[in-house]
């Protein structure tokens, strides 16, 4: 029997859904095993009846086997849908780092909503300064961006920005086969990275900014290239969950000859990547204090769950 699915996106960019489509040729075989009852991206099921005739306070959500939800929570409508879907779904999958950790948009949590609105509607050079939008037909914002598990119980986490199609197909296949759990293996990006590590930076001290390219020979494979941290640049590989290239590939940003920025989030629940990364840098002789914009760069994809917050106002110097 086909797996009944409710799919939706919240405070997201659609990249997770595109990653589903990037499953590629196997998708055509997988689709008939899935019965989408809702998918804003691909089909026309409506929340309140197909002609909007339903009760506006009761979303039309049937019982489903799986809810696949991407994006964090940014407004009351998203929060309501999440809570309602949770009641009707046997399994809830948080798809992508926004759903798992808040994602890039949770960087907004470094400010209050009013500061954010001030910039958007009264602080942009081409915008005519105006009051914040406010209307019964647009939902008010939540006080900050939330990861899904701050609001409801999440059964399966598929992190990544975006998650690799291998893992999406793998998790869905596991549920089709009747399994009740699925989890990515707890390995670091470094565990799957072919670069040469000698446990010592080429030059100790200051960490370089990405204003110049890494040193490598483009005609040589990656296993002839020196570790990015050891070259003196910040790479979050040591504190980031592996899997961005799927089951077998080399980490994707490394393939592009660029450092990891942590899009798969922490290796295990409860880890604090910023603390662990400072330790990793110190151990090879780099001065972690020299990382520019340290707090935001090390929490870029994981700013929900209170990892990013407005800083207390600095005392005024007299």
């Amino acid at each position: 029997m086909a797996l009944k699915i409710w799919e939706d996106w919240f405070n997201a960019c659609s990249g997770c859904e595109i990653s589903i489509l990037n499953i590629g040729d196997p998708l055509v075989d997988l689709l008939p095993k899935l019965e989408f009852v809702h998918c804003t991206a691909l089909m026309d099921h409506k929340f309140f009846g197909q002609t909007g005739e339903g009760d506006p306070s009761a979303m039309d959500i049937p019982e489903v086997d799986v809810a696949i939800l991407s994006g964090g929570i940014r407004n009351e409508e998203m929060k309501h849908e999440l809570e309602e879907v949770r009641k009707k779904a046997k399994f809830l999958i948080a798809l992508g780092s926004c759903a798992c950790y808040g994602g890039v948009p949770a960087m907004a949590n470094m400010w209050t909503n009013e500061e954010v609105f001030e910039k958007l509607y009264r602080g942009c050079v081409s915008t005519e300064p105006s009051p914040n939008p406010s209307d019964p037909n647009i939902p008010p914002w939540t006080d900050r961006v939330y990861a899904l598990d701050e609001i409801v119980k999440v059964d399966i986490y598929i992190p990544g920005c975006p998650p690799h199609p291998d893992w999406i197909a793998d998790a869905i296949t596991a549920l089709i086969e009747g399994k009740t759990e699925w989890k990515l293996p707890e390995r670091s990006v470094c565990d799957t990275c072919p670069l040469i590590r000698e446990k010592k930076a080429l030059a100790s001290g200051v960490i370089k900014r990405s204003t110049e390219n890494l040193t490598f020979d483009p005609n040589e494979p990656l296993d002839k290239m020196r570790c990015i941290n050891e070259q003196g640049f910040l790479c979050l590989g040591p504190v980031t969950l592996a899997g961005c290239a799927g089951k077998t590939g080399v980490p994707r940003c490394i393939q592009a000859r660029t450092p990891c920025r942590g899009c798969f989030g922490p290796i295990r629940k409860g880890a604090i990547p910023m603390v662990d990364m400072i330790g990793a840098m110190s151990s090879i002789g780099l001065d972690a204090k020299t990382v520019v914009d340290r707090r935001a760069i090390m929490n870029r994809y994981i700013g929900g769950q209170n990892r990013l917050r407005p800083l207390p106002a600095r005392p005024i110097k007299r």
Binding site: S14, L21, T40, L42, P133, R209, T258, V292
Partner: protein, 448 residues
């Protein structure tokens, strides 16, 4: 006051929006609006970030067109640092963008819009979608899924990531292309070109010829257009001057950094995105009979503003299109047609770029030093002219960002098309799910 019709959510578009249609006592449309339910506020949370990190932060604005944001951002950072990337770097940026755009157009045409035409606008909602197409036309579905995958695969095999790339950087790109990579990618690009040729022939026969009446009516509005053209007036997705065309076809061309002289943004209390408008055309009005300052972006806009296409097969298609519909044409459903002409140019351009050995030059990045400055970088994103405007302090940390993204230009036009479609389709209080879907069909061409 009469009944209110709520279409929620608008489907087969990106993100969350609803349409609210207000009927009067006799059941005719008195107003209709397209409400977008949130904003993510990149303009705010980019403040304080190192400018060289911007291309890999702002790409997250859109998971469908991350390469457009990555390119525009890299160009804005080039401008901040005052550098020009080496020729091979520009060719590589153009190439990645062109291949990514082919996947984007496949997604929109086949996955999001085709169900309205292949299954029919009044088909039951449970089959009016890509799953319905998979069942009804499995051979085409396989071809389409494969072509979409191929585009992503080509990009990943060279640049690591197809979604949210890290490849574009201030001053150039992160790695050069080897000769063997060039040969491999060329084969793939040629396959995508064949698929692009198939797509436009398929659509001309199976969609545009069959839906002439719908094309002439649904969502049609008489407004202006925005796009980017090269010095010779040809459509260019990566670089050129911005052209803002009035509804009558007359136009102004301007450089990126002059955009604030021409474009302003209104805030409406009932939707989170802003409403850009042409400042020099008078006082903003979305009145259907007499709109002022309203222009559209995305493919139909580009096809209208460009004097010609950049590549031969796309040019032949443009000539056929113009002989039928003129320039500019205001028929909203023709966005779908224009999209496939553009896909052809993207594919031809990808092949041309890969046939040029210079793209495999090892010289791919100019060195940059953090300094204070402002830079405006633009490209044509799939959904329209994309404007990234950054200012940073002497340490190269961002202190001011302004963004006008492709779909934002279309906010006013989408609202007008919704109202136009609702007003012509709903009479005397009569409507059904097919009619409400046709109202959404006035939105989908914009691919918001």
């Amino acid at each position: 006051m009469g009944k209110t019709i709520n279409i929620q959510p608008v489907t087969r578009i990106e993100g969350h929006a609803r349409v609210v249609i207000q009927l009067d006592d006799s059941g005719n449309v008195s107003d209709a609006r397209f409400h977008v339910s949130t904003s993510r506020a990149f303009e705010k949370f980019c403040e304080g970030r190192p400018v060289e990190e911007m291309p890999r932060i702002v790409c997250h604005i859109c998971g469908i067109c991350p390469w457009a944001h990555s390119s525009a951002s890299a160009k804005a950072t080039d401008a901040v640092f005052g550098v020009t990337p080496p020729p091979a770097a520009i060719k590589l940026r153009r190439l990645m963008q062109a291949i990514a755009y082919i996947s984007d157009k496949i997604l929109h045409f086949y996955f999001l819009s085709a169900p309205d035409f292949v299954m029919g606008p009044d088909a039951d909602y449970s089959v009016r979608n890509v799953m319905g197409i998979v069942n009804q036309a499995p051979d085409i579905a396989k071809k389409v899924v494969h072509a979409r995958w191929l585009g992503a695969h080509l990009i990943e095999s060279f640049a690591g990531r197809a979604i949210h790339p890290t490849f574009n950087l201030p001053g150039g790109v992160s790695k050069p292309m080897t000769e063997s990579e060039r040969q491999e990618l060329l084969k793939g690009a040629q396959e995508l070109l064949e698929f692009s040729k198939f797509s436009i022939e398929f659509a001309k026969e199976n969609v545009f010829a069959k839906y002439e009446d719908a094309i002439k009516s649904i969502g049609v509005i008489n407004v202006g257009y925005i796009g980017t053209v090269a010095d010779d007036g040809s459509l260019d997705f990566y670089d050129g001057k911005i052209r803002l065309m009035k509804p009558d076809g007359s136009y102004d061309d301007f450089a990126y950094h002059e955009y604030t002289d021409h474009i302003g943004e209104k805030v409406m209390p009932w939707s989170y995105p802003k409403f850009p408008y042409a400042k020099k055309w008078g006082n903003f009005s979305m009145d259907l009979d007499n709109p002022v300052g309203i222009y559209r972006s995305n493919c139909l806009a580009r096809i209208n503003v460009a004097d010609k296409m950049k590549t031969p097969l796309a040019q032949a298609e443009l000539e056929e299109f113009r002989s039928k519909f003129g320039r500019p044409t205001h028929l909203t459903l023709l966005y779908h047609y224009a999209r496939l002409i553009e896909m052809l140019q993207n594919a031809e351009e990808a092949v041309q770029l890969l046939e040029d050995p210079e793209i495999a030059s090892p010289d791919i990045r100019a060195k940059v030093e953090p300094k204070a400055g402002r830079g405006v970088g633009c490209v044509e994103a799939p959904r329209g002219t994309l404007i990234h405007d950054y200012e940073c302090d002497e340490n190269g940390l961002i202190n001011n960002v302004n963004l006008i993204v492709g779909t934002t230009h279309n906010q006013a036009a989408i609202n007008m098309s919704v109202k136009q479609a609702a007003s012509t389709l709903i009479k005397d209080g009569k409507y059904d799910q097919g009619i409400l879907n046709k109202v959404e069909m006035a939105i989908r061409p914009y691919d918001p």
